[in-house]
């Protein structure tokens, strides 16, 4: 008998993309920032990143196997991405056990309790970071300040420093000399979390992600753009009271958050119009919190708030449809 042929509906070819490929590319894009982080903070960066990745993968494996009893999903690389991003969001001096607790929250609460990859409402890494920020405020606020390549002292991040100084009534021009130069901020020689410090490395990763078509430019550009516009208006109104837009873009987790966390597929909108609304929302909320809120950095909260709006955005913001809408006059013809 002749061999039987396979019959299935079209299309009969596939582009070859896979979830694992996309997630792996996110990890690759984060390598330059990781290298810089190890240069600046030394072994601590390596250990914390390894611990976060290891515990995220382990928790996902255990929950999937023993609680959800579903197929093994760690091969899709998403737990690895969560681990790297969570580690990138904490200070290099954070005790390891706290980070493991954060990983547990990210994976167990923010991701698996919703049903796993694709069903979670909030970005797991950011949810983990905010959980740590609220539960361990002291440990999460003590950032080593790099001096030269290896020596570090403990201190406040530029955002925290500015917030404190402005609250005390210091004018912007008086506090400027105590801030790191823009060049240092670009290269990562300033206080901050593991992965957020090196703007240049994060931008290299962004270009890689665009080249590999993992993400589109819309969300990062509109977050940074709306932050710059909002901060710029305030700065033009009173340059002694408000920091300039360049500072806001280079400080804190602006680039890490907007390029790698706000673009998380699962928790961001499904079309360009929706992405723009979401991104502008994040940008505006971030500046609101940074300038008037209780925390020096507002990006994580802004992303979480906008994450929760995504289902609504998807419901009401539709993609550009093909064909001009039929007007009443045309329909009457």
């Amino acid at each position: 008998m002749e061999k039987k042929l396979i019959v299935s509906p079209s299309p009969h070819i596939h582009g070859g993309d896979s979830t694992a490929r996309l997630m792996r590319d996110v990890v690759i894009a984060l390598v330059p920032a990781f290298v810089l982080s190890v240069i600046v903070y030394g072994l601590n960066s390596l250990v914390l990143t390894a611990v976060a990745v290891g515990s995220c993968v382990l928790f996902e494996y255990l929950i999937q196997r023993f609680l959800l009893k579903g197929p093994n999903t760690i091969g899709n690389w998403s737990a690895i991405v969560t681990g790297v991003l969570l580690a990138f969001n904490v200070p290099s001096t954070l005790p390891v056990w706290i980070l493991i607790l954060g990983s547990l929250f990210s994976i167990a609460v923010a991701k698996m309790s919703f049903g796993g990859l694709g069903r979670n409402l909030f970005n797991p890494a950011i949810a983990g970071r905010v959980f740590l920020l609220i539960s361990f405020p002291a440990q999460m606020a003590s950032y080593p300040v790099p001096e030269g390549v290896v020596d570090t002292t403990s201190g406040a991040t530029p955002l925290a420093f500015v917030k404190e100084a402005l609250k005390k009534g210091t004018s912007v021009s008086d506090l400027m000399p105590d801030l790191p130069s823009y060049g240092d901020m670009l290269l990562g020689f300033r206080a901050g979390s593991l992965g957020e410090i090196a703007a240049a490395a994060l931008i290299v990763g962004f270009i890689y992600l665009l080249w590999r078509r993992v993400i589109t430019w819309h969300i990062p550009v509109f977050i940074v753009g709306s932050m710059a516009v909002f901060a710029g208006i305030l700065w033009l109104a009173d340059p002694e009271q408000y920091m300039n837009p360049l500072f806001h873009v280079l400080a804190g987790g602006t680039l890490l958050g907007s390029i790698y966390m706000a673009t998380d597929y699962v928790t961001s909108p499904m079309n360009v119009k929706g992405m723009i609304v979401y991104a502008v929302g994040i940008g505006v909320l971030t500046i609101l919190i940074r300038v008037w809120g209780a925390y020096p950095e507002g990006l994580s909260f802004a992303i979480l708030i906008m994450n929760s709006v995504v289902p609504l955005i998807n419901k009401y913001m539709k993609p550009r449809r093909f064909g001009v809408p039929v007007t009443k006059a045309a329909a009457a013809k």
């Binding site: 042929l5 009969h12 449809r321």
Partner: protein
Amino acid sequence: MLKTFKIGGIHPADNKLTRGAAIEDFGVPATVTIPVSQHIGAPASPVVKKGDNVKVGQVIATATGFVSSNIHASVSGTVTAVDNVPDGGGLRKQAIVIQVEGDEWEEGIDRTDTLVKECDLDAKEIVAKIAAAGIVGMGGATFPTQVKLSVPPGKKAEFLIINGVECEPYLTADHRVMLERGEELLVGIKILMKCLGVEQAYIGIENNKPDAIAHLSGLAAGYEGIEIVPLRMKYPQGGEKQLIDAVIGRQVPSGRLPIDVGAVVQNVGTALAVYEAVQKNKPLIERVVTVTGKALENPGNYRVRIGTPLRALIERSGGMPEDTGKVINGGPMMGRAVANIEAPVTKGTSGVLLMRDEEALRGTAKACISCAKCVAVCPMGLEPYLLNKLVSKGRLADTEPERVTDCIECGSCSFTCPADLPLLDMIRLGKAEVMRLIRARNAK
């Protein structure tokens, strides 16, 4: 910057293995099986019976309504059956089987290569001739051509757009026609223009066929009102609505027809068939078919009599390789997988594609990660992920306000999905149900 359509689209590897293979005459097979329904619309009604002798070009089934098409004998010989015969999918459909004897043609058919440029017929006579010749859209849609050429009262055609895009990977039949039958093609286009009363025709060709663009641009200098429009390669540019958008920048509104924006689209193969019917009295009895596949020994382009079994084409191209997993009638994006290779070449068969075992199976479906890639590639601006979700929850009717009926089934969403979700399969389910609901509503 070359023109292209504005929303969505993908870039599959074009794999045009046979772009350099000149069209060969396949010759006459031992038997042909000619289905009475090779077009959209009512099946034709057979006018021959078992035992009749027929000549090439003789009508063997006549159109049964406005949207229907005549069927002609593609070979000479004896009718051995007028019966239900399994088609590519194994479904039994009415067909006329002819045992070939010699190659005797109907009188009046001009079989020479001489180019006949002048055409004195008026529009009505041309349409009548096209209808008599059984011509249908040869890009795959197989819509009877005379219907498309009959502009409804109150509407006016401004442009004729000729589809030379051939955006399906692997297929090269239209490409070879443009290179080898250019002059006849252009005369065919002039006839179509006369028929529609339009002054301007555009031939849209993607830039992966620079030789066809150059060749036809040279020839078109001698034909007033025909312009070649090179297009930036992007699938599904050969979709009627996408091609109109790319060439003249007008978007056909949802639920309307190309004529509503003043355009009529015809495929390259159709324009050639029109030339042969009107100038040479030759009905649609053969077409160019690409036989291709990565494991096939000798892929090629053939001029094939309608009704020739697919098996004969595969054997001519080196036989079916051991590791063949799938045989597709058409291209890899929109073609139909066949279970039965005894099924015949029909008016809509643009290619026969053999896929190896490792290419034939789909990946296992995984969880949707909301990557939004399906939304970004959909050329109609739909949300495949949402349609998939609604259909998998059994909410088929809810896909109507999400414009499921706009779907052109190009397959870009499934092609792109990193989770290997069968998006188009699910959309088709929703679309079929919504079409049923609409019909039921209209019947009231």
